[in-house]
């Protein structure tokens, strides 16, 4: 058994620097913190939102229709799919999310003024989804479009953010 060094006579005993007790104490604290971290991980994993199962109209692949169904320069609303299918006058398709990028309201297309006008705080977007009037901070999100065998399909699984319109975003028919 190892004895602690005896202090010089006449002085109070010196406090031990490191004992088994202090080591075990520190070990317990460390393990306790690890346990706490594990608990935090378990709780957040439980609470994390699951990806919702795709419905027929939204959250999956939406078959919009045949290419001929959409005249050039037309904007067709898909309310259940939460997007607008734009057939640009110069050709090509854009699937714009109908969710306003400001606070989440649904933006309808205004045929007379030829722009998307959000009813909540009057954000305005043009045919390409770019911001014409604030308070929206960025253009409308895009959904990937595929044109195969003359059929237009829109992938509504996850919207794509962009800072501005680019010709490369258009899918040619």
């Amino acid at each position: 058994m190892r004895r602690e060094p005896k202090p010089p006579a006449g002085q109070p005993p010196a406090a031990p620097l490191k004992t088994r007790r202090s080591l075990l104490g520190r070990l317990a604290l460390g393990l306790g913190l690890v346990a706490l971290a594990e608990l935090a991980w378990v709780v957040t994993s439980f609470l994390r939102p699951r990806t919702r199962s795709a419905g027929e109209d939204h959250g999956g692949l939406v078959v919009a229709g045949a290419v001929e169904d959409f005249a050039p320069g037309s904007v067709t609303a898909f309310p259940n799919g939460r997007f607008h299918l734009v057939h640009l006058p110069e050709g090509g398709f854009l699937a714009l999310s109908a969710t306003c990028t400001h606070l989440g309201c649904t933006v309808p297309w205004d045929e007379t003024t030829q722009r998307f006008a959000c009813p909540c705080h009057a954000s305005l977007f043009d045919l390409h989804g770019e911001v014409e009037s604030p308070p929206a901070p960025r253009p409308l999100d895009l959904y990937p479009v595929r044109v195969e065998n003359g059929v237009v399909t829109v992938d509504t699984r996850s919207p794509l953010r962009r800072s501005r319109f680019d010709r490369s975003q258009v899918v040619d028919s």
Binding site: R52, A98, L103, G104, C105, C120, P134
Partner: protein, 489 residues
């Protein structure tokens, strides 16, 4: 063992000291009427075992004993300072909020029997309560009006505690608990707002959670956790319903118990200073029974009457079912968030959604620890000078806020002005901080205010400003969030 047993179980007679017998002996005689002998009827014996008390107390001593020995009353003080009974001291706001809370629990529990927390069934089940259930509209009305009154009463209660200085000294932590309670009640109100699943609630929650997106880093994740996904749906309803009916009420009850306990531990509410005619000596104490209990019961009855009257006359609103494809114009947040929504129109989202609310929360929680403890408290507005300063601050905020809103309206591009982070973020923040600091300095130097009086003035300034913003947001914003007259909004 010899000796008689008194009505409260004490043995008297042989084996006890003379002093003991002298004190308790007399009770034996009085208790004789209440003792149960074999001749007592079954009904009497059952009643006496459930309620072993001495009946309705008629003497002061009996009243004191009743307070101690009754389950419902034993947490209350037996005696309390007479000066705190003054109605204009507290207006019974704390007690009224507890009463409103019990109405909410009762009406809520009744509706839980009928409500369905699904996107398909929510509106239908609420319509059923409204159209088919006997007294359904009344229950809904009680719930709706109790909820709105509760938020108002709580804000008034916070104001009262603040303005009477009831957050110093041993009451510091109780203030912190109180602020937490307020936040939980707002959360409960917000989660309940979505449950009818009509156009109003769907879009109010859409934009309120939309505001969360602007919180840096954690915002989008926080919004997704709250919504149970990327959009509002049944998952959202289930999350909100669970929070609203289980998590929040339980937490509220626990915290309230703690809150009331802390009030008891400091011997009640902060004591107002004596009126000129009362000066001298210790505050006179009166019995809880009947002086405080009587007042509390009377106020509870008035609150009940008011809620029932409002519920019967106006009921709870129910709009058309939620339509994700069509946002109403305008789409407004619940009124207690309107102030921040109004702020959003003028300043950068991060300032309106993150910086200002967080700063406000921090200041509110730390308030008791940032003020001086040993200045006198208990009087409304602390002193005559405090009253004057508060009036000046309130007037300034009440005139300056609408003026600034109107100015921003003229200068900016109307309600569609999207401020960048410099003009809309940094600039207003700097101006706000400078105004607060200047106001504080002005109060201290020109008015000669004490620290607490100056802090009070600054808080009144900011509170009235937020109230003005809330009023503007609720009554003066119409289509497209443009400024309109209230009768058109």
């Amino acid at each position: 063992m010899s000796g008689r047993v008194t009505g409260c179980g004490r043995r008297v007679g042989i084996g006890r000291s003379p002093a003991y017998n002298a004190r308790w002996g007399e009770r034996v005689e009085r208790d004789a009427d209440h003792q149960d002998h074999a001749g007592a009827s079954l009904l009497r014996r059952v009643w006496r075992s459930a309620f072993p008390g001495r009946g309705i107390p008629r003497t002061d001593r009996d009243r004191a004993l009743a307070t101690r020995n009754t389950a419902l009353l034993h947490l209350r003080p037996v005696r309390l300072p007479a000066r705190t009974l003054r109605w204009t001291h507290t207006f019974g706001l704390g007690g009224s909020s507890l009463v409103l809370f019990t109405f909410l629990v009762a009406s809520g529990a009744l509706m839980m029997l009928l409500y369905q927390p699904t996107a398909g069934g929510a509106h239908l089940s609420v319509t059923a309560i409204e159209k088919e259930v006997v007294f359904g509209p009344l229950v809904r009305g009680v719930h709706y009006w109790s909820a709105n009154l509760l938020v108002l009463v709580l804000l008034a209660h916070v104001a009262r505690v603040f303005l009477t200085g009831g957050y110093h000294g041993p009451r510091q932590f109780n203030w912190v608990i109180g602020v937490s309670l307020l936040l939980l009640v707002l959360a409960a109100s917000f989660t309940g707002y979505l449950l009818p699943w009509d156009q109003l609630s769907y879009w109010a929650v859409t934009i309120s959670t939309g505001m969360l997106q602007y919180v840096p880093a954690v915002g989008p994740t926080l919004a997704r956790v709250l919504k149970g996904g990327t959009e509002l749906g049944t998952e959202t309803l289930v999350v909100f319903y669970t929070l609203h009916t289980t998590v929040l009420p339980t937490t509220l009850v626990v915290l309230m118990a703690f809150h009331f306990w802390r009030v008891r531990k400091v011997d009640g509410v902060v004591v107002p200073p004596p009126r000129p005619e009362e000066v001298g000596g210790q505050p006179e104490k009166v019995l809880f029974l009947p002086h405080l209990l009587g007042r509390e019961a009377a106020q509870a009855a008035v609150v009940l009457a008011l809620v029932l009257w409002l519920a019967a006359l106006f009921g709870a609103p129910l709009g058309p079912p939620a339509n994700p494809g069509m946002s109403p114009n305008p789409a407004k947040a619940p009124w207690y968030f309107s102030g921040f929504q109004e702020l959003l129109v003028h300043v950068h989202p991060v300032l309106a959604v993150v910086v200002i609310p967080l700063a406000g929360l921090f200041a509110a929680l730390l308030l008791p620890y940032l003020t001086v403890d040993d200045e006198p408290a208990g009087a409304w507005f602390l002193s005559r000078r405090g009253r004057r300063l508060a009036a000046v601050a309130a007037l300034t905020a009440a005139t300056l806020t609408p003026a600034l809103v109107a100015l921003d309206e003229l200068l900016g591009s109307g309600s569609a002005g999207a401020p960048g982070w410099l003009r809309g973020g940094l600039l207003p923040l700097v101006v706000l901080v400078a105004a607060v600091a200047a106001g504080y300095r002005l109060a201290r130097t020109r008015f000669g205010a004490t620290t607490n009086e100056a802090v009070q003035a600054v808080v009144v300034l900011l509170a009235v400003a937020l109230a003005a913003l809330t009023l503007i947001g609720v009554y003066f914003r119409g289509e497209g969030m443009a400024l309109t007259w209230p009768w058109r909004a």
